[in-house]
């Protein structure tokens, strides 16, 4: 993103102020973003697709004379585009909900925590292409059964976002990020095709751990070649960090104040202090963790991002809040808001692990030395369909392995089903050190008595 494509915050503020004044609007706020992206995909040594994108978007909220809020988004930042957006927001404000009126966050001008996010220069798309071709070739060479890498991509992004409001708040953040994913498909004669992959994030394409991604994608794919069906039953399971983070993320409405107010969370307003999980589990939402590539310094309302303990020793300690939900609960906003007429609330980046001093459940857990049958859940899929967050239940296909009698076999096809509250009270302990993933930090998590259905 060059300087001419950057958001000029002072200029944007001036234009908005003038337009608002001419429309009789005295109270407004605005979120804007712009980005440039480049990405490449390859197919067996040839470029498959190379993409570039320049995006800009703005969301403006206005408060009308009755104090009701309206909102409009647009990708057109021209003068007529802004005027149209402002008029749209003013029209929509007539339908604002008088029982739930968002206000400016009291923390919209509070100091921001410094973030260590080195801005990296983009590399040329042709260099990206050669890098990805090389990665694909190495992955294809890693095992005779790996025939294609049907899903792959190397991408880099330069982005900028701002938050402004008519009370003088002005937040601005620039960021560069890059990602690599390699998803291989392997097939042996007379056997079913198998697949697995890996992903890496960094602040620039030049600093991605490409070798690590290749190695992980290869190891995971190869490990699924030796597969067998699994007998349906109840098993002790070991969730990979990625799988457990996915599951907790899918049920994050447990901690979401908006969902609680709306009556669609398993928690309620009195749940703070409730024992939700085993007394050795802690969960913190911490977007500021240095492992969180692409961390936001502030949320959609300008509230600073901060670490927030959700679960300590299995007990619910806090909920995720926007300005409006925080006001409802009589607490401070937590930096988890979107921007809207009805403001959404969302989790950021989880830190999951043993509660300090608790011992972390059973000690010395090691799946390779376990005697009785053990199911290792490496990755979950179809979370959008198989999770009923408001009911607590899940039934999800997964990739993983069965460890039995000292042997480890990939599981041909299976689902894991259960109830999140039961699961959180059925944890046995943790294995290994916490791992940094794109969604958070987590060790391997053991749980007992989960229902596994195999395809026989």
């Amino acid at each position: 993103m060059n300087e001419s494509e950057s958001i000029q915050a002072p200029s944007l503020r001036g234009r908005l102020e003038a337009l608002a004044q001419s429309n009789g609007i005295s109270r407004w706020d605005l979120g804007a973003s712009c980005s440039t992206d480049t990405s490449v995909q390859v197919d067996r040594g040839e470029a498959k697709q190379m993409k570039g994108a320049q995006r800009s978007a703005i969301t403006v909220r206005v408060w009308n004379g009755d104090g009701l809020v309206g909102i409009t988004s647009t990708s057109d930042l021209s003068e007529p585009g802004l005027a149209k957006a402002l008029a749209g927001a003013r029209d929509a404000s007539a339908f604002g909900n008088p029982d739930d009126i968002p206000a400016f966050s009291p923390l919209a001008t509070a100091p921001l925590a410094p973030l260590e996010q080195p801005i990296q220069e983009p590399i040329s798309i042709l260099t990206m292409l050669e890098t990805l071709k090389g990665a694909e070739a190495k992955l294809l060479d890693s095992h005779a059964a790996i025939g294609t890498v049907p899903y792959n991509g190397l991408a880099q992004r330069s982005s900028e976002r701002i938050y402004l409001n008519s009370d003088g708040a002005c937040r601005q953040q620039k960021l560069t990020t890059a990602s690599l994913y390699l998803y291989a498909r392997a097939e042996e004669t007379g056997r079913k095709p198998r697949s697995a992959g890996a992903v890496r994030l960094a602040y620039g394409a030049g600093s991605l751990d490409i070798e690590g991604c290749i190695q992980e994608a290869a190891e995971r794919t190869i490990s699924h070649l030796n597969y067998r069906p699994i007998e349906t039953g109840h098993y002790t399971c070991v969730f990979s960090p990625e799988a457990f983070l996915d599951l907790i993320g899918a049920f994050s409405s447990l901690f979401n104040a908006r969902a609680i107010i709306d009556g669609v969370s398993l928690s309620n307003q009195e749940s703070v202090g409730e024992q939700l999980a085993v007394p050795f589990l802690s969960i913190t939402d911490n977007g500021l963790n240095p492992g969180n590539v692409g961390a936001s310094a502030f949320d959609g309302e300008g509230t600073p991002t901060a670490a927030l303990a959700l679960l300590e020793a299995g007990v619910i300690r806090n909920f995720l809040h926007s300005e409006a939900t925080a006001r409802h609960f009589g607490v401070n906003p937590t930096g988890h808001a979107g921007m809207g007429a009805k403001v959404s609330v969302g989790a950021d980046w989880f830190e999951i692990g043993p509660t300090p001093g608790s011992g972390g459940g059973q000690q010395g857990l090691n799946q390779n030395q376990h005697q009785s049958p053990l199911v290792v859940i490496d990755s979950l899929s179809a979370l959008h369909a198989g999770v009923k967050a408001s009911q607590g239940s899940f039934s999800l296909p997964f990739d993983g392995w069965l460890i039995k009698d000292g042997e480890k076999h990939s599981i041909e096809a299976a689902t894991v089903a259960g109830d999140i509250r039961t699961l959180l009270k059925s944890l046995v302990g943790f294995e290994g050190a916490a791992k940094v993933t794109p969604d958070g930090l987590c060790p391997q998590v053991w749980a007992e008595g989960l229902s596994i259905t195999g395809e026989a």
Binding site: I7, A47, M50, G52, A92, P150, A382, A414, E455
Partner: protein
């Protein structure tokens, strides 16, 4: 960031600018240059309990420029529709293929054909949709009807979305076409709760090209349907896991074909080598009871189109006839790379996605049986009345959730069961669809894939699958 004036509509004045752009791209050595431009006007609305809690208009505009050379392509999207913005995007796309624009180069481009304007008769569609006040009133009627028909309702929600899109497609093969699309969708959701018993239930209704859809919506019948399903599932036991026969209801039951097989018949999958059916044209891949069709023609259906996102009019494509694979769904790139001719299936969410071969209205054709005959043929199995979402992986393994299910015992429906997920592989399941009923119906949905989230229809009559894996507890 662009601060240029936006296009106010895609009128004939765009011809010269686009011809200049396409000529420049061709002159640089591109085999084909395609420009896709769009303007969008979206309205989202949410009603919860008895209040409107969100009204969210959104406007958008942008262009996507795709350049082909050989089998390779470069694609660049931008929000900047100014001449300079489009040229900059073209240069970037050309550069991806090692091409450079030159003012001296000659172009083989012969100019654009006469505009095929599918949007001409649709110019007033947006104005014919209900104004905000009427739309909010109708939505509140929906949540009020939920209250009337439901028991133990902890949350009631109604949502409405109106998506208007104007598109203009121009390509250096002369393609020049414009269209206006209008989609409306309505959703009703409830959460019923009684102690530890909970059941969430939802339904979506949608149409394309019908400005009166919201006005004519039968809110009472929809609310009754949702509440009845929630009541059935509130006290349901968890399904027992295992292999069993299943009867899948019509309408949204069609998601099984969409996920289990439809995606595998897109040339996108042929290109990636991720479909087991790539070399099976002319071969039996499904039970002879199965005929499957994809088309963009059914009047008012969510996946219907006047033209696809590459300017081609949609076809009625018979994918499988009596179990035999007939053809694949193909877009421009798919035709180039796999040899399967285009079917008017090049689709994308918007200008920031390159088109890909995607489904439109996809359904299994009606068969000779009654639904009762299908049930009667099952001694013990699962009846899937309502399906949730699903997905298919790169090896053809699919899964989807059963939102409302019942046990079949002795050929009859007995008790409701919850928590079921159906899993399997397309190659194995398609031959097991052994009976189709005579009650084909379609249902609106959204499909997410390589070119974004698009409007589609799924459908089928009641079908019987002889054996499928049911994940449960």
């Amino acid at each position: 960031m662009s601060t240029t004036n936006p296009a106010t509509c895609f009128d004939p004045s765009w011809r010269l600018r686009l011809e200049s752009l396409l000529s420049a791209g061709s002159g640089a050595g591109a085999d084909l240059v395609e420009v896709f431009m769009e303007r969008t006007d979206h309205l989202g609305m949410l009603a919860e309990q008895d209040a409107i809690t969100s009204v969210s208009p959104a406007f958008g505009m942008g262009a996507g420029i795709r350049v082909f050379r050989g089998e390779r392509d470069g694609f660049v999207s931008t929000n900047d529709l100014s001449e300079a913005g489009l040229l900059s995007a073209l240069d970037q796309a050309l550069g991806m293929l090692g091409l450079l624009r030159s003012s001296h180069a000659s172009s083989g481009f012969d100019g654009l054909q006469d505009l095929r304007d599918f949007g001409l008769s649709k110019a007033d569609w947006l104005e014919r949709c209900p104004p905000l006040l009427d739309a909010t009133a109708k939505l509140l009627e929906g949540t009020a009807r939920l209250e009337k028909h439901g028991d133990h309702l902890q949350a009631r929600r109604g949502s409405y979305a109106r998506d208007w899109q104007e598109v203009l497609v121009a390509a250096s093969d002369g393609t020049f076409a414009r269209d206006i699309r209008l989609h409306q969708s309505l959703g009703l959701n409830v959460l019923a709760a009684d102690g530890d018993h909970r059941a969430g239930m939802g339904r979506r209704y949608g149409s394309s090209g019908r400005p009166d859809e919201l006005r004519q919506w039968d809110a009472d019948a929809s609310a009754q349907e949702v509440c009845s399903s929630a009541a059935s599932m509130l006290y349901a036991d968890y399904v027992e896991a295992g292999q069993m026969p299943a009867v899948l209801a019509n309408r949204f039951g069609g998601v099984i074909f969409h996920e289990a097989c439809g995606h595998l018949l897109e040339t996108t999958q042929v290109e990636r080598g991720t479909t087991p059916f790539a070399d099976k044209v002319g071969e039996q891949i499904a039970h002879e009871a199965v005929t499957a069709i994809d088309e963009g023609l059914s009047d008012g259906s969510f996946g219907s189109l006047s033209m696809d996102d590459e300017g081609m009019e949609p076809q009625r494509t018979v994918l499988i006839e009596n179990g035999v694979l007939k053809r694949f769904l193909s877009d421009r790139a798919g035709e180039l790379r796999t040899g399967h001719s285009r079917t008017g299936s090049g689709r994308r969410q918007g200008h920031s996605f390159a088109a890909a071969s995607r489904m439109r209205n996809t359904f299994i054709a009606a068969g000779p049986h009654s639904p009762e005959q299908l049930l009667a043929s099952v001694e013990r199995g699962l009846y899937c009345k309502s399906m949730g979402g699903g997905s298919v992986g790169p090896t053809g393994q699919f899964n989807f959730a059963v939102e409302e299910g019942y046990l079949i015992e002795g050929g009859q429906l007995t008790k409701p069961v919850k928590g079921a997920t159906l899993i399997g592989e397309a190659k194995e399941v398609m031959p097991r669809i052994s009976m189709c009923a005579n009650d084909l119906e379609l249902a609106a949905g959204f499909c997410g894939s390589v070119s974004g989230s698009i409007f589609v229809t799924v459908g089928q009559p009641h079908i019987k699958v002889d054996s499928i894996t049911v994940g449960g507890r």
